[in-house]
């Protein structure tokens, strides 16, 4: 066989897109004013419906309530037990799942389009008439207690909860660490009250993806769009108290690894610096080729992985570097982390590295919008963070235009090693 050998020494020419667009989406409003965002794809007859509600931790009158209500929402109505609901939904191969977050919670319906008329009335019933059965609460409590016990043995879990408390304060909805008493104190009456108020269909924001037809919208009108909501009562003013101490060590004698978190409160997506700061964060630890990963994993072999990220919440965002390392190299790893942060503020990023980061980030934005299931998540994240659709374009522009000296400046301002909380859980030697 003779094959012409090709020149492999030079990389193929690259074309980096000048613009990245979010792709096709539609918007409409249900009869009761509920906003609906749609990203279609009709190759298969599957539909994803996500209903978001203002029912996250931020709105809780008491700890754990948000999670408990969210989990029990699908576990019974006045008419049906959890078994009957599961039977009816699963028979059609569909699923109705819930997820709780700091600010909002989601009810996610996944079904073949042809079965939505069987599924959506049940969802409507859950929203308006969830019964929060006591036996379901008991099961939930049992499971949460078990989970807590397991989690407390895990350095990763303990480091995270210690960090949240250190950043926001242990009384703050974003900061409190769940304990057994909070789980035991849950009661079905408060849960029913919370669900009646926070899961009114009229409070929903709806995201649709997959094969969306007129019939889908009609089903939605019937189950979600027919009643207007009463406004939510109760003030939600919370004061934030970060921990005094800068270094926190939680010993764990059994552990062969230590979990490290280097974290600080930071700006949210609505701040003009957020988009360029995101670029700086990517250089530091936001992708596989990042400085932290190159240094601490690829060069030193201290860890399986290390990342930095900015987590946005409505009422308080934070920056965190997150890794698990061998106990014996824990101190060395922390020192390297600080050195990388310092370096970012002191020395301008060279153009080659910045080009890699830019291209990687633009590619990420393109990938994030591939397929309607992915695209709708980008849309949901923007809408639920209270942003307009120009945010996506601003992000693209920031990625294209951020300059080395700007990264230096932002690193100095927001990623200063002397202003971080340092949380270590494990057995550092």
């Amino acid at each position: 066989m003779t094959t012409k050998m090709i020149n492999r020494t030079a990389a193929p020419d690259l074309q980096i897109p000048e613009t990245v667009s979010l792709g096709a989406y539609r918007q409409l409003t249900l009869g009761n004013g509920v906003p609906v965002y749609i990203a279609d794809n009709n190759t298969e007859d599957v539909v994803k419906i996500e209903l978001c509600f203002p029912a996250g931790r931020w709105y809780e009158p008491s700890p754990m309530l948000s999670r408990a209500v969210c989990r029990l929402l699908t576990k019974g109505t006045s008419r049906f037990s959890s078994k009957e609901l599961a039977d009816r939904i699963e028979f059609y191969g569909a699923s109705v799942e819930t997820a709780n977050g700091h600010d909002y919670t989601s009810v996610k319906i996944f079904s073949l389009g042809k079965y939505l008329p069987e599924i959506m009335p049940l969802v409507g019933e859950m929203l308006q008439d969830a019964s929060m059965p006591p036996e379901e609460l008991q099961l939930f409590q049992k499971k949460q207690l078990q989970k807590l016990q397991v989690g407390l043995r895990n350095t990763d879990f303990v480091a995270n909860r210690t960090m949240h408390a250190a950043l926001f304060g242990d009384q703050h909805p974003y900061g409190y660490a769940v304990d057994a008493d909070m789980i035991r104190a849950l009661d079905t009456t408060s849960m029913r009250n919370f669900s009646r108020q926070h899961y009114q269909p009229g409070l929903a924001t709806v995201f649709l993806s997959g094969n969306i037809t007129d019939a889908t919208i009609q089903e939605l009108e019937r189950s979600v769009g027919s009643q207007t909501a009463e406004p939510i009562t109760g003030a939600h003013q919370r004061s934030l108290h970060s921990a005094e101490e800068q270094q926190i060590l939680v010993p764990n004698a059994e552990s062969v690894q230590s979990s490290i978190r280097i974290a600080s409160l930071t700006i949210g997506k609505d701040h003009p610096d957020y988009a360029p700061l995101n670029v700086a964060n990517t250089v530091l630890g936001g992708y596989f080729g990042s400085r932290l990963m190159s240094n601490i994993r690829e060069d030193k072999g201290y860890t399986y992985g290390i990342y930095s990220l900015i987590r946005h919440h409505h009422n308080g965002s934070y920056f965190v570097i997150d890794t698990e390392v061998g106990n014996e190299v824990c101190r060395a790893a922390v020192d390297e982390i600080y050195a990388e942060m310092k370096q970012l503020a002191e020395v301008p990023v060279d153009n080659n590295e910045l080009t890699v980061v830019r291209n990687y980030m633009l590619g990420s934005l393109i990938r994030a919008t591939d397929g309607s299931f992915n695209r709708i998540q980008v849309i949901r994240n923007m809408v639920m963070s209270g942003l307009d659709f120009e945010y996506f374009d601003r992000l693209v522009t920031a990625v294209q235009r951020t300059r080395p000296e700007q990264i230096q400046e932002l690193a100095g301002k927001y990623l200063d090693p002397t202003k971080q909380k340092e949380i270590i859980c494990g057995q550092p030697i």
Partner: protein, 410 residues
């Protein structure tokens, strides 16, 4: 429905292409038909260690990740007991970068002591993080070594012990590469906004000159039929005790696979499943219980696993599982139950191929099983299962002398 075309290059590389002009990206998936089942008992964890080394650079592209990131792409890889899979996702305009990188490392990976050193450490930390430092981290080590006496499925992909990884030598690494990482043992699958003709032309351009290899003769020792029940108690200081019952089942291409898989759904997939309703909700013996299959190429595992509720003994929980299985054997599975699990599979499969990467990977996996068209026809296999097939599967699987039982905890 995924439309695709299949080609074979002269060197034996299988090429699959799915055109999808609805996207600006391309997914490039390279599957090597080698996994932990191809390892020997004294050098376990090798296929997975090798996966890490594949990112250590090749002769013309010393830095795989940077080149791909420069092209706006991302990549990752995973190793299972049966296969090793690498994938790249990037703007379709830059697809050649992925093909250049993947073909260069298939042609000549740049082996070095330095890269081996670093990746040995990284994998050792991965071993510690996931299998030692975590409660229940060694469950699959313990379970596999009981369920399999002979087949290399006896060990998980991370390997039997840290020392096998610590002792890996550069010469082992090279011989592994030239045995298994040849084009005739690989599948290249492409999905994205590119024409089939163009994709094939580029595949030929970048992969066509890689010499074929000689397939190693190693024959995987198959697991003999089990002749007696097995039992193991693992003492572990964990907060929640676990019960496992495991049976041997058909491999992915076995005639009984589809019915057996549906049977696991009847028992333990979803809140209306039998084990969930009876043992968790009604009797409250478990706080979590499920049934699932390993989906392996060779003799697989049909697993029932449950977390015991506080104060419930292992024996009590275990006996309750056995009662449910016997009940299923004696009364059979009802029509509505069968329809439920078929509907669940239908929804699942319909939602499985919604982006370029899922399509490229789905095609490659199906081709590894022998027929890429399974991505479109698998649903028919499930639909064709009858109540009689289900009964036959239940009576074949759940025989007392075929069970491996493990109690894990205090």
């Amino acid at each position: 429905m995924i439309n695709y075309n299949k080609f074979t290059l002269d060197n034996g590389l299988t090429v699959l292409v799915n055109e999808d002009f609805g996207t600006q990206i391309a997914a490039v998936d390279v599957l090597y038909k080698v996994g932990a089942r191809n390892e020997t008992a004294d050098k376990t964890g090798f296929a997975h260690l090798f996966e890490h080394l594949m990112f250590g650079g090749s002769v013309n592209a010393p830095d795989f990740d940077t080149e791909l990131q420069l092209a706006g792409g991302t990549n990752n890889a995973f190793t299972t007991n049966d296969l090793t899979n690498y994938y790249d996702v990037l703007p379709v305009n830059n697809i050649e970068t992925a093909l250049w990188l993947e073909s260069d490392r298939m042609l000549h990976l740049d082996f070095s002591e330095r890269s081996l050193d670093v990746q040995r450490n990284v994998v050792c930390e991965e071993f510690k993080e996931h299998y030692i430092n975590r409660p229940y981290g060694d469950v699959w080590h313990k379970l596999r070594e009981m369920v399999y006496t002979t087949h290399p499925y006896r060990w998980p992909t991370i390997g039997l012990e840290l020392d096998h990884i610590r002792e890996a030598k550069l010469s082992d690494v090279e011989s592994f590469f030239y045995s298994w990482y040849r084009p005739n043992n690989a599948i290249l699958s492409i999905s994205g906004g590119i024409s089939t003709a163009k994709a094939l032309e580029l595949a030929e351009k970048w992969f066509g000159d890689i010499p074929a290899g000689v397939q190693p003769e190693r024959i995987i020792p198959q697991e003999p039929a089990q002749s007696a029940a097995r039992f193991k108690k693992v003492e572990a200081d964990v907060p929640v005790n676990l019960v496992y019952q495991v049976w041997h089942m058909d491999g992915r291409n076995g005639s009984g696979y589809y019915a057996q898989n549906l049977l696991s759904d009847v028992l333990g997939n979803g809140e209306s499943s039998r084990l969930y309703q009876s043992l968790k909700m009604e009797q409250q013996l478990f706080t979590d219980i499920s049934a699932y299959v390993s989906g392996s190429m060779d003799t697989g595992m049909f697993v029932v696993s449950g977390k015991l509720a506080d104060g419930v003994s292992y024996e009590e929980g275990n006996a309750a599982i056995t009662r449910e299985l016997k009940k299923l054997q004696s009364e059979g599975c009802g029509d509505r139950e069968l329809q439920r699990v078929k509907n669940m599979v239908e929804t699942d499969l319909a939602g499985s191929y919604m982006n370029a990467l899922n399509k490229a990977q789905g095609l490659a996996m199906a081709e590894m099983l022998g027929n890429a068209d399974l991505v479109n026809t698998e649903i028919d296999m499930y639909t064709a299962v009858t109540a009689t097939d289900m009964d036959a599967a239940a009576s074949l699987l759940f025989r007392e002398d075929q069970c491996s039982t493990m109690f894990y905890g205090k």
